[in-house]
Amino acid sequence: MPADPLIRVTALGKAFGARLVLGDVSLAVHPGEAVALLGPNGAGKTTLLKILATLTRPTRGAAAVAGHDCARDAERVRRVIALVAHGTWVYDDLTAVENLRFWATLAGLTPSADALAGALAQVELDRVASVPARTFSTGMKRRLGLARLVLAPPRVLLLDEPFAGLDERARKWFEEHLEAVKARGGALLMATHSLGRELAIAGRIAILAGGRIALDAPHGAVGTEEIRRLYALHTEEAS
């Protein structure tokens, strides 16, 4: 009997007005598991993540994180998750360390100056800690966003194109960080439409197409070529 899933999505549907984005999605991610969520643009990957992150509510069905319902118990869910999406949550007029202190304090933490410096050092921003973020490149801003994860390690990570905009060193660091989350018994759900690096971490692959999970298989069971084939197949079917 496996442990209760950290992420459980049951018969989930979401419509934006007339547009039905998710039809009937069911998915479970267990502790220590990483699932790559593949699918073409507009398949609803981001919407699914947003529902899990309590940013938007499902039209029907249910999504739960660590046993807490994402719509009814959003506040409990927020204590468990971290979202790494397109937004970096960086204020351009604050310095790197000020940005980090702001988000940590707002989350109810009291990080020491050392802890802040340590987190910035991990993402190699320690030398620009006191420089306004306005001058940062996109990659640097993304790294600054990731530094938050170091200060408050989450149990459940929701990732939307996590490696976009990161350079080789940062990717490597982030991969290690994600592996550590897995090793601690956390869960990862990773949305991506590329078949690259994300697959290496993922133990399972789920393809989201046509508003439902078209394929859900362990990574080992299907080779990369097979994934490519299935992916193309389902993608065509949907469009």
Binding site: A18, L20, G23, G42, G210, G211, A238
Partner: protein
């Protein structure tokens, strides 16, 4: 003060216009929507995805 009836009637007429107008608007809109729903139900038996 017989002429005051003019104001009274004007007030009641205006109210009748407002309420009547609102009622007509609701009736028309409902009719319109019923037609849209009926037409769509005939054309598309299932409700898949608009993409």
């Amino acid at each position: 003060m017989a002429d005051n009836w003019g104001y009274v009637l004007a007030a009641y007429a205006l109210a009748a216009l407002a309420f009547g107008g609102y009622w007509r608007r609701l009736a028309r809109r409902e009719h319109e929507l019923r037609q849209i729903i009926a037409a769509r139900g005939a054309r598309r038996p299932q409700t898949p995805y608009a993409s």
